[in-house]
């Protein structure tokens, strides 16, 4: 029967990126249901299918083994994890069950594998423990690798979709998302993910509307259903009725007109009504995003995330590989500054089989600078590449996740070592690369004055600072409501950081998602944070906001906010006062 009748269904999720699109649903799931063939076989055919399956497993395992071999031996614990992952290929629940299924049901290998991996994953469906829950992803990944050897297709071919559609997926990896072709995909919706998940971040930079964290969207939508994606409102409407459709068509036009207006003025500087100048920079992950950064009027790169290359290669890149990537970005932006953040590995961002399998709480585990200090060779290689890129333009070095003074002391020792080695190797590099740290762990806020003695600048990473201050797991939907940038405790933390930076005379920037939301701008201006880095797509809106504000007013806003008790009150105060400025900013 299906539900593709006329009944309008509204599902609420989390707005991933603003904007509205209306189009036909195109469903993809991790194994690409639309791609795999299903057919029945006879006795002899079953034996053949089993052989084919076994060969595919063998090839996938060999590939996996090659990844293990390519890694440094000093990655002891990660290697163990990878080897444990290796076991999954031959796990009874996948390997023997698929063979049995082919034998008993007389179906082809792809179909059997899909059925079996689905059953295996279902076992984790009602598990609460996030660590175990993500094991379902491991199974999916292993099955996917085998599947790609069976079908000869590599992963989901999002890049090959050839009609104008709205993607509906259980989950999209950052790599999947980056394959999206703007002329084909109007927007996307996913069951998983949160506002600041990597997928939303990339969606924002591509500027396509998306809604994530829908829970069960993929189950409720059929292929070709008409679907409205309301990225700002964080909801989707399946099979909208006439009236809804008209209302959204109108909103879509208004939204687009508003953005076209913004773009025209995005090259002008962000100067407040009373003449204070703000510097708006872009957060990027891929070299390709430099274009979007420049188009949106970014005055530099305030955060260049470097995990992607590690992800992409599935091994640790060499100094040359890193150097050529960094140099490209630095040259494209020069003379504007590029702040390169060193490896910020955590479960969310890097191949889970490599780094997070064993940690019950990856966000509190061996990530970012902690990982780098434990694997100094990896760190040294990256720092050398960054210092070399410094010779091609204006580079700053940013260290994530610093939680105490002894870490920054160790970091500086490694930088000294990098300088020594580069001198010995006669390589060209810059000795004047500014050193900064992310302020994103509450303990760093407390000792900020001490930390300031070792660095040239602070950059506040609000995503993690909020997460760690409020003790919330950002991917856990049950506590997602606590994630509020305007929570008074968060504002106080930023103010303390501001005071420490002022006292020691070092620069202060912000590179979290908080900086990209217009509703937060009056408070950030009140805190006098003159350098704001955000997703390229947010720059025009934020510039527009800043141009309409007066710094003497925003100082008052801050003072007022500091007397309030809840995020809701602060937000209300701002949205009441700046009502007309905030319409259409995706906050409505």
């Amino acid at each position: 029967m299906g539900n593709s009748g006329s009944e309008q269904v509204v599902i609420n999720g989390i707005g991933g990126s603003p904007g509205i699109c209306i189009g036909k649903a195109y469903i993809v799931d991790r194994e690409g249901v639309d791609v795999i063939k299903r057919y029945r076989v006879d006795e002899a055919g079953a034996a053949q299918e089993i052989n084919r399956f076994k060969n595919a497993v063998e090839k996938a395992r060999q590939e996996h083994a090659a990844v293990i071999d390519s890694l440094d031996d000093d990655l002891g614990s990660e290697l163990n994890i990878l080897e444990a992952h290796m076991v999954l290929y031959k796990d009874k629940m996948i390997y023997e069950k698929t063979v049995d299924t082919i034998n008993n049901e007389k179906i082809n290998a792809e179909w059997a594998l899909k059925k079996v991996s689905r059953q295996a994953r279902l076992r984790f469906k009602n598990v609460d423990d996030p660590y175990l829950k993500s094991r379902a992803d491991d199974i999916a990944q292993v099955a996917e690798k085998v599947m790609s050897h069976l079908t000869g297709v590599q992963d989901i071919k999002i890049s090959e979709i050839n009609k104008r559609v709205v993607l509906v997926a259980h989950d999209l990896s950052p790599a999947d998302t980056s394959q999206i072709q703007l002329e084909q995909i109007q927007g996307f919706v996913t069951d998983r993910g949160g506002k600041d998940s990597h997928t939303s971040i990339i969606a924002k930079s591509l500027r396509i509307p998306s809604v994530v964290g829908l829970g069960k969207a993929t189950a409720g939508v059929a292929n070709d259903d008409l679907i409205i994606v309301d990225g700002g409102g964080g909801k989707i409407i399946i099979n909208p009725d006439e009236e809804t459709l008209i209302r959204y068509e109108e909103r879509k036009v208004r939204f687009e007109r508003y953005h076209a207006g913004l773009e025209r003025s995005s090259y002008l500087p962000a100067v407040t009504k009373d003449g204070e100048t703000y510097t708006l920079l872009s957060n990027i992950e891929l070299v390709e995003e430099v274009v979007s950064a420049r188009d949106n009027g970014a005055e530099g790169i305030g955060l260049f995330r470097t995990e992607f290359l590690y992800l992409d290669l599935k091994r640790f890149p060499t100094e040359e590989e890193l150097y050529s990537r960094y140099k490209e970005v630095v040259e494209l932006m020069a003379p504007a500054p590029v702040t390169i953040r060193t490896l910020d590995i955590n479960g969310d961002k890097v191949n889970p089989s490599l780094f997070s399998l064993e940690e019950a709480n990856p966000a509190l585990g061996l990530r970012a600078v902690r990982f780098c200090l434990k694997n100094p060779q990896v760190f040294l290689t990256q720092i050398k590449a960054i210092l070399r890129a410094g010779a091609s333009g204006n580079v700053k070095l940013l260290i994530p996740m610093i939680s105490c003074v002894s870490e920054i002391v160790q970091v500086r020792e490694i930088i000294d070592q990098a300088v020594n080695e580069l001198e010995k190797e006669n390589k060209e590099f810059s000795g004047k690369v500014a050193l900064g740290i992310m302020i994103e762990v509450p303990s760093a806020v407390i000792v900020a004055e001490k930390l300031a003695e070792y660095v040239d600048f602070f950059s506040i990473g609000t995503n993690d600072l909020i997460q760690y201050s409020m003790a919330i797991d950002r991917r856990n939907r049950q506590v997602a409501h606590l994630y509020q940038p305007l929570e008074p405790s968060v504002i106080h933390m930023i103010r303390l950081t501001r005071e420490a930076a002022d006292k020691k005379g070092i620069d202060l920037a912000m590179c979290g998602e908080m900086a990209g939301e217009p509703v937060n701008i009056p408070i950030l201006m009140g805190l006098d944070i003159k350098e704001l880095s955000m997703n390229p797509g947010s720059i025009p809106t934020v510039k527009q906001m800043i141009r309409n504000l007066d710094s003497s007013e925003t100082r008052k806003d801050l003072e007022k906010a500091l007397t309030l008790s809840t995020a809701r009150e602060v937000r209300q105060m701002i949205s009441d006062k700046y009502k007309e400025l905030l319409v259409f900013n995706g906050q409505e």
């Binding site: 444990a84 796990d91 996948i94 076992r123 660590y131 175990l132 094991r135 399998l357 064993e358 019950a360």
Partner: protein
Amino acid sequence: MENTLEENSLYTRRVTISNSLGMHARPAAKIAEIAGKAVHNVWIINDNSKADAQSVIDILSLCIIEGSLVTVEVESANDVEILDEIIKLIESGFGE
């Protein structure tokens, strides 16, 4: 099925999981490796759910946390040595 296991005490042992992370991937892989050598089935039972000890996936799906009292069961006398080996491994905290 589950309530027959108490009677077959010859082939079952009870043990408390002591490593702090509970039964995560690596310990599960070690158990599955040993259980894989058994002639017949090997089971792990936790709170009335039963998992095939030869499968990492099945073991993980039991969600065994630190301090859980689990039962390990083999189906034949030939596999008692395997049973003992698994118990020893769990008691050692998987060497972690």
